[in-house]
Symmetry: D2
Subunit: 414 residues, 4 copies
């Protein structure tokens, strides 16, 4: 067990910049969202504020939400990426993310960053150095260890002892900055080799060791999915959460699939071990991809999403622009339902109880919570156990209707 | 949860006829082995005596250890296979396995049988009836649901409600006979469809329900392997043990592989949920395959096998002819080591602790047991934790040698 | 080269009962269609009349177009299937298909039958005999060699010399009957093993040898597809035509796919070697599946189909009920266009010349024929080579419009 | 048909530097081998002298036969690789391979080079220009289109019209140099995507067009294998030869495999269309990999190799250091047998005639040549057709013995 055991004892709750800002998030975007979280959500347990991909790229590069290859990224002299100073002005003069982290800590929140597995390609091709090592980037980079979808990095050679030093140097830097959460990407499912989606397992171990050594407790979150169930034990030993799906967006097809994923992963949910259903694309999203839009999920589908994430105990990471969403009472009500969040944070032993063509039923906490999901296109009727309708905040009838794609979240309330 | 929860709270311990008698076991073989178990092994916890495949086939058919296709099996009027009366004389006059079960119960032991998934092909082609149903075998049999390796049966259509009635009728009969353990074959990994080795999942559920209904507690054991880790939750819900490997025999290659299998399955071991490393081919085996022979495993490999099965908490099912083996003190010492068996029966939380090219280390019971496996072809030295050498029944040195393919089973003894 | 070289020097042209009568064709159906072929199509080169699957099954079995498993098929004492006497009255008294073949020959046409690979399961389970052999069906049948989609037969063991005798006995019988064309099913792509769709290759060789020995020239047609291109040389050596697609029906998606299939197979088209695009589902079809209906292909798509089949030189096997279709002038015009049929029967060296998102172009016969296919959903314009519009029977403009999913069949006419 | 049709009307015959010099060949090595070819082999038809991989790398990089990643390659200002001037002194002052090509032409031989698909990574990361285009290397390079085994290049984006201009600029340069043969690597089977080994098909088309445009006839040879049989038509249209195997070396296992490969490709052999069994590793090889050694093939296996390559009509490309091999009479006799070479150069319609566990028989040229291969480990006897033993240059007996792994090459001599 390499990982830090003082964090993520409950499913992490927070916000991530991707669904709303794509690769273009700025310091201002991050701070605005942190401000809303502090004011509206912190009291319900939401705490992590995570800046997603490509914070080292100049504004010119991120004008296109698709990554621009071969662009020059901001890098320190030890081959480590640092924030672009135009997009993150507080990082100037070599301060990195320290000022932004401090600002977020001052709100009583926690700060997270996204990184890509490996070392910048530009470092390998120019042969820059590694902190605490006489090796250069070109010595430890593997020319064929690449992401399928982003050209910034090369993976590291796990047989070269200097590789660990590079990852150690990264986490030293992040600890100096005050980072609380690291989302490592292109690592959980690399899609590099046909029959080995978990090809980066030794790099996971290196990151995990680096995080241990750095001294600062940080949540380790692995992406993208789908993670490989056979490696559940290894993921549990080395990370706090890992994606069980490829990128999740607001399409019923993807939400429907999540039932199968949760089914497979249910036995691996527990303290410090959180199979992750991915960010929650409800509210106002998409600005960074062209223009802001409302989620495409119907209200019934949103209820289904939140119910499944809560009963299964997925991490809860919001994708919307909170500043644009906070006046949307419907969405806010989904994020502030204390009983739903309690099922997520304090429930235990979530299990698929039954499934048919139309109805999927999950139970947790010894029957305290029962979630009924109508996965069909027709209204159905169920006879729920329990006495309380979590979302309606009202008593339960003997029989209840569930709309197409909707859910009923029932509990036994004392 | 369909399965009976009063059995298999610890890994089942017993004997199975396959490794020594292939498809040819007779009543006399079974009784002789039960007699040795009663006299020599019962006191250590060994209890199940299981008759393996093709007990319905006439002696002419089983002269060849490879199954003879299209032979007429002994069947009752409800399409249920019953013992061949020549090989199992006590079964005459429709008594089935009841007399043999009783004889074994009288020794203080338990009785098990092997069955193949489905209904006899001969029943489908002749259209015989089903107890408690107006359907016939030809109505519920699926013409394409076949075993890859044995031509006796057709699987049942899970969409036909009459199929459950047939499986119910089987377990009613087995309960009448006094069966305590059912090994269901061609069900855990059917190899029928390229991408769906777990294609018989709904038949597993039917068997599980039938076992519940029959009223008699029985251990449900699923074969063959490898089971699919993604379905661990479903296996746990519906069976007590399941094979994590294809047929295991006395070859180092297969034993070496078992480390990877145990690694994958370690998080699924617990009361009523036993990933199964398969029968133990040590001692005298093989008579039914041509001629009796000694295991091909070296003594070091035998120690490795027993240590892994014990620390991982696999079911312990012996494969040897006990009557031929009981004078072999070496083998008997492996089966009667109380501390090794205690690790298997009472240990908890077995985990792979470390692995390298040469050394694999497992820990269980919070560090009480530590198993060191030398998977290389050279002698190695380890510095074990603990103070007691389980197999040598002696104190541990600070450093201990382990022979190639051998193991050191260390514990903290009070 | 085992196969008969005096037949199929040009792509076979004919009719098959499946698309219109499913598994229910009767003698009356066959004769009615033969009568229309004689009167309306023979003069254009159409000649084979083929009775498709399950002519041994009783009417009760074929009331359902899906095969009814475990039904008793009509079989002679040598384990050979013969026609059901109710559906094929002229076959009574052991005459088999001889009278029907004679009736069709009297019309100047040729007669074909469908068979399934292997020997009836009922023969294996009852142990009936083989002509000219002391073996029984149970000796040569392989219990695991089954069709995925029909439960009538077991494949034969190619390592057992008696297997050839059974296939020889079949073709002797078919020669006695006067059969000219045998469509062997479940043999070209068995889908039995994940990585070996061509698993029945040795049975193909046995059929081919049996056909050679029987003395009567017969076209050997192999189904279902998709055939495996790597085995093109083996198919060419042992058969006259083979399916390059799974069952083809009147859906644009399937027709669209055929372009890729023809692309892959283009180098294997030539005398006696005909990659087969499957039956042509235009006109009135479907009666045997429930109710007769018109093809779902638009007129543009029908032109595309006929153009592709003709330019590529696929066998031309009609699927419609000719008796119901013969008053449909549009359809009849597609079947009687002499220039299109000449491209099919006498063209040479068909080649994909170009393809884009919207336009696929094929050329054959050294540029005499040029076929332009609009695979997009928008009208397009092309500047064809040649001077004659085959389907319009008119001169070509410098530029021609092609409707969505439609085709232009251009030629150089002297 | 894009390719040049005035070359490769017969299987190309020549020499390639890889098997003897790995990535380290120098101008001196090339010239020495050309000299032996001129003096000893030219009269038998051998003509191409091909310099294999990494002629742009400095001597320091190629000291290790494994490619050193991230090394600086010699490149012109248009992102085109040119020879390293230390290893190829005549290339200095921007003359490239022109002087070496001229030297080889002066011997009456032809000159070939190896290239890797794509554009140098160093060009993409530094953004250098493209001849005749305003685009830069970073505009047309695809960051994820990489070789699995060499880190020098990125593939080009086929949807970007500027990509063609880069490949055009390469062939313009090669035409200026006087190149006669281009072996394009990492293109025939890219192994980049699980289910699409032929992912570079559009780059093949671009190279083919570039070669057409450049005006100088050049043989296009595609590597590595195995090529995809389904794409035979596309390979035939765009190249002159393509590898049907991964790298071939002197191991019986690989030679044994070649029979299956030739079987699959036999229908695609003909003028301008040469499935390629790869270089011939007999004689003295391996100097560039550490130390020079004799081939590991037995004499029988060498005969088998030469017989198969000749009867199947593979290109014949020698791998040995000719200067080190020329005094080896045995090897030279295999390279100068006029009848064997005639079968290769002038034979037609090579076909697998029969195969069993021990004997494979190929026939070509309407029965003029018959090749019998003993693929077993025991001596066998055959009764050959023909009257002449090609390798022994003697009459044939009625029955002839063939040594294990050996071959008999029989012909009908007038």
């Amino acid at each position: 067990m390499n990982k830090c055991s003082s964090v993520a004892q409950r499913p992490p709750m927070g916000w991530n910049s991707w669904d709303c800002f794509a690769s273009r998030a700025t310091e201002e975007d991050i701070l605005k969202n942190a401000e809303v979280m502090e004011r509206r959500l912190k009291q319900y347990g939401w705490e992590y504020v995570v800046c997603d991909i490509q914070w080292s790229a100049p504004p010119t590069a991120v004008n296109d939400p698709v990554y621009k290859p071969f662009i020059k990224l901001k890098m320190d002299s030890y081959s480590r990426l640092v924030p672009d100073e135009i997009r993150f002005p507080s990082s100037s003069c070599g301060k990195g993310f320290a000022p932004l982290a401090e600002a977020i800590h001052n709100k009583g929140l926690k700060f997270g960053i996204h990184i890509m597995r490996g070392i910048p390609r530009q470092a390998a091709h120019s042969g820059t150095g590694i902190l605490g090592s006489s090796a250069t980037a070109s010595d430890i980079a593997e020319f064929g260890s690449i992401s399928r979808w982003n050209g910034d990095m090369y993976g590291l050679d796990p047989d070269n002892a200097e590789s660990q030093k590079y990852y150690d140097s990264l986490f030293e830097l992040y600890a100096q900055w005050g980072v609380d959460f690291v989302k490592i990407d292109d690592i959980c499912n690399t899609n590099m080799f046909p029959h080995n989606p978990y090809s980066a397992s030794r790099e996971i171990e290196m990151y995990s060791k680096a995080a241990q050594k750095c001294g600062r407790p940080m949540v380790l979150s692995l992406s993208p999915g789908p993670a490989v169930v056979e490696q559940a034990w290894h993921l549990t030993a080395n990370a706090h959460m890992w994606r069980i799906t490829d990128d999740f967006w607001d399409e019923w097809r993807l939400l429907r699939d999540m039932f199968d994923r949760c089914e497979r992963w249910q036995t691996h949910v527990g303290a410090g071990s959180w199979p992750d259903c991915d960010m929650i694309p409800i509210g106002k999203i998409g600005a960074g991809f062209g223009s802001q839009r409302d989620t495409l999920f119907t209200k019934s589908e949103q209820v289904t999403l939140m119910t499944l994430w809560c009963v299964f105990r997925s991490p809860l990471i919001l994708g919307c622009d909170l500043a644009a969403t906070e006046n949307d009472d419907w969405t806010m009500s989904l994020l502030t339902n204390e009983e739903a969040l309690a099922a997520n944070q304090e429930g235990w032993n979530p299990r698929l109880a039954d499934k048919s063509e139309s109805l999927v039923t999950w139970i947790s906490t010894g029957g305290k919570y029962a979630a009924y999901f109508n996965i069909s296109d027709e209204r159905i009727e169920v006879e729920p156990i329990g006495n309380w309708n979590v979302w309606k905040k009202a008593g339960l009838g003997k029989a209840e209707n569930i709309e197409p794609h909707g859910a009923l979240f029932a509990m036994k309330k004392e």
